[in-house]
């Protein structure tokens, strides 16, 4: 890069200022005296304002976006890491993380023979078709398959209906007004420590916009968008459903994802307007660490839906079987009158995994209702906590909530905990809470054995019966995969 000589343009102050700026920008010399090469693909480790600017610049974001990130970062610096969850993990060194690396293709392998056989075994058990296995493992895929892929025809249909389904990065370039209007409106950067961090450094995520009166004809899946890029560490997703619209969104997949990045702090914001509905399903199976509890991903997520319109509805369904530590409370703010929020969850912990998960239902409008069905399964030496909040505001007349949190313990070295919080400020509210704890005992397994059923099948039957209600709320294909996934996660949990 040539250094532009500013000396020769002294007669025009404006121009010289521009030149100075240009110089600064191309050389990236900041007062901290450290140079970041804008051409490079990865930022150096650590987090400071410069890194935040670097991220924004690499993504070619508008000025207001950079400002937003910076404000979030400065706020984050003043915050303290929360210590209240019922999980423990080694202290995270935030300065020892790389906050930006250019989206790069996964290493291309020649054939499935080069893939970790353990991974292939899991794919087999999950019934994943061969071509998909190749894509997931980074094996080069036939050009023919790729061009006639479902993804292409899929995009055409969406375009016809005016549905936007893209990455947030693309949305910032193609529909910046929409993003600006809603980003951070459901989860502001001031919300919590990890939301602030995410706002400052988020890598990318999904942006979905469903126009008025449109019913999205197919399930939108992150699988199609991410394709063969590496998983984002700080994902940020924004879905907007205009009046009278509907969309069903699937996040994640059952295939086990390994990632070099250990911390995943994502944010998901859903905005639902009048008479609209969003169905958001998640199946998460990230690397949970080995059987001794070493390694594994920390999944710290803030997910929130704002049911702004009257008669708006949101349904969160999640099956969490992976990650070393899962910390998330998909929530609903029921602002619109007659709005409805639902949360269905199965959280499985095995070996040394930990989970502190649940939901928050905030009733603000009139005649709102919410349902929480949480199923926690603990096995091995794991720890599984349900934490839920049902809050009914002063003006929230006739609010109704039904909460059921069930725990299932497999063996006697695991733990299950429940932390329900109920805050009612309006006496017309009707709130029901039920909780059960059951143990899968050796005697149950033996009973099933004695009827010719293997121990593995026995555990699966019992667990599936336990989770039935939640699985019934998943889109069918996901439900079938989720059942298989549960079976694999609990393998060798009854020994």
């Amino acid at each position: 890069m040539e250094e532009i000589k500013t000396n020769s343009l002294k007669e025009n102050d404006d121009v010289s200022e521009d030149m100075q700026l240009l110089n600064d920008v191309t050389k990236n010399e900041y007062k901290w005296g450290f140079i970041t090469d804008i051409e490079s693909d990865t930022a150096p480790k650590g987090l400071n304002e410069e890194i935040v600017r670097f991220i924004s610049m690499k993504k070619e974001e508008p000025e207001w976006m950079t400002e937003w990130r910076l404000k979030a970062f400065r706020h984050w610096e003043k915050m303290e890491e929360p210590k209240w969850p019922n999980v423990s993990y080694p202290k995270i060194d935030f300065q020892n993380i790389i906050y930006y690396s250019a989206p790069k293709k996964k290493p291309q392998l020649e054939s499935l023979d080069e893939v970790d056989p353990e991974l292939l075994k899991t794919f087999e058990k999950l019934g994943i078709p061969l071509e998909e296995q190749k894509i997931l493992s980074g094996v080069a895929v036939d050009a023919v398959f790729d061009s006639v892929s479902v993804a292409t025809t899929f995009k055409e249909t969406l375009k016809e209906k005016g549905i936007i389904f893209s990455s947030v990065s693309d949305a910032l370039k193609e529909n910046p007004e929409l993003v600006k209007k809603y980003l951070g409106s459901v989860v502001p950067y001031t919300d919590n420590y990890y939301a602030a961090l995410n706002a400052a450094v988020f890598s990318d995520g999904s942006f979905v916009y469903i126009p008025k009166g449109v019913r999205c004809p197919m399930e939108l899946s992150t699988y199609f968008r991410i394709n063969n890029e590496e998983t984002g560490q700080f994902e940020r997703t924004l879905i907007i459903a205009e009046d009278d619209s509907y969309v069903s969104y699937l996040e994640g997949c059952t295939a086990p994802i390994r990632d070099t990045n250990q911390l995943h702090a994502a944010v998901v914001e859903l905005v639902i307007l009048e008479n609209a509905e969003i169905k958001y399903s998640t199946v998460q199976n990230w690397y949970p660490g080995n059987s001794e509890g070493k390694g594994g991903i920390y999944n710290f997520v803030t997910k929130r839906a704002a049911c702004r319109g009257n008669h708006s509805k949101v349904s969160w369904t999640q099956v969490e079987t992976g990650s070393a530590v899962t910390w998330k409370y998909p929530s609903c703010i029921l602002q619109g009158d007659y709005s409805v929020g639902e949360f269905y969850s199965v959280a499985v912990t095995n070996n040394y995994q930990q989970a502190d998960t649940g939901s928050k239902m905030i009733h603000l409008g009139k005649n709102t209702s919410s349902t929480i069905i949480s199923k926690g399964i603990s096995a091995g030496k794991s720890n599984n906590s349900y934490r839920g909040l049902v809050k009914v505001g002063k003006k929230a007349d006739n609010a109704r909530n039904f909460t059921q949190c069930d725990s299932m313990l497999m063996g006697d070295k695991c733990g299950a905990h429940t932390f329900p919080y109920i805050e009612i400020e309006n006496d017309t509210a009707r709130v029901e809470h039920e909780a059960t704890t059951s143990k899968v005992g050796e005697d149950q397994i033996f009973y099933l054995n004695q009827r010719g059923i293997s121990s593995e099948d026995a555990v699966n039957m019992i667990v599936n019966g336990f989770c039935k209600e939640v699985f019934n709320n998943l889109p069918m294909e996901f439900a079938v995969e989720a059942q298989k996934l549960l079976a694999i996660s609990l393998e060798s949990s009854v020994g």
Binding site: F446, L448, R451, M461, I462, G465
Partner: protein
């Protein structure tokens, strides 16, 4: 069908069975009686392959196969059925799913095709009638909310559905009133034929009025101390277990 030679077994490290010898042929009904703690249930559980019981010595052969080597689910598929003394509750799994899965496991093992829904329901209706059970129960979770008597009847229903070769009934009569006892006994009598065999474990003679045994064995302190025909049960009823124990003492002294 079943040959037991010098069987010794432990429960939680304590030796309960101290050398059992027993032979059961197809078409026979055997009754095992004895005071509490004699090892009756232990014998039934060891035969079924319950992991809480450890075989320390001896041999068990079922249809010529070494049973000790077989996992409990394989023993079941080979045709051994245990009617539990305390049937287990399994919330979340319906009786329908449970029975159908069990039935198809046995069929699969024997190379037979799985039962169609119609076949299954017809079979279920037929067998439920024998036991006077309301077919509605099929959608309820296994044994959840069942009374003691209903649980025992459910065990016999399963036996009728699965058609095992050897049925081990562990104190099936305990907790049953006379009417329930009659129904359950009828179920067992309908079941038994010249190709299968039944081993009844019971405390009381009463059951044997309804299910007439070919052989009666008395178990005391882990050993079969006396065997006889059905009259032995009547003698026991009259004279009590002490009668046998005295004999035992005499034998030891001599």
């Amino acid at each position: 069908m079943l040959v037991i030679k010098n069987l010794k077994a432990n429960v939680e490290g304590k030796e309960i069975l101290k050398g059992i010898n027993l032979e059961i042929k197809a078409g026979e009904v055997h009754a095992i009686m004895g005071p509490n703690g004699s090892g009756k249930s232990t014998l039934a559980n060891v035969l079924a392959g319950n992991g809480g019981y450890e075989v320390t010595d001896g041999e068990i052969y079922f249809e010529g196969k070494d049973l000790v080597e077989l996992a409990p689910e394989d023993r079941a598929r080979e045709g051994i059925f245990l009617a539990f003394q305390y049937p287990i509750e399994i919330p979340g799994i319906s009786n329908a799913t449970f029975l159908k899965t069990a039935l198809n496991e046995v069929r699969k093992y024997n190379g037979k095709p799985e039962a169609t829904p119609k076949e299954f329901l017809d079979l279920l209706k037929e067998k439920s009638n024998v036991l006077g059970m309301d077919p509605q129960f099929i959608s309820r979770s296994v044994n959840v909310g069942f009374s003691g008597g209903e649980k025992k009847r459910n065990e016999i229903l399963q036996m009728l559905m699965l058609q095992p070769k050897l049925a081990l009934l562990d104190e099936t009569d305990s907790g049953l009133d006379i009417d329930a006892l009659k129904i359950v006994s009828n179920g067992v009598n309908v079941f038994k034929n010249k190709d299968n065999a039944v081993l009844l474990v019971t405390h009381y003679q009463r059951l044997l009025n309804y299910i007439v045994p070919d052989y009666v064995h008395v178990l005391s302190k882990g050993r079969i101390i006396k065997s006889g025909g059905k009259e032995l049960a009547l003698e026991l009823e009259e004279k009590g277990y002490d009668w046998i124990k005295n004999d035992e003492l005499i034998e030891e002294i001599v």
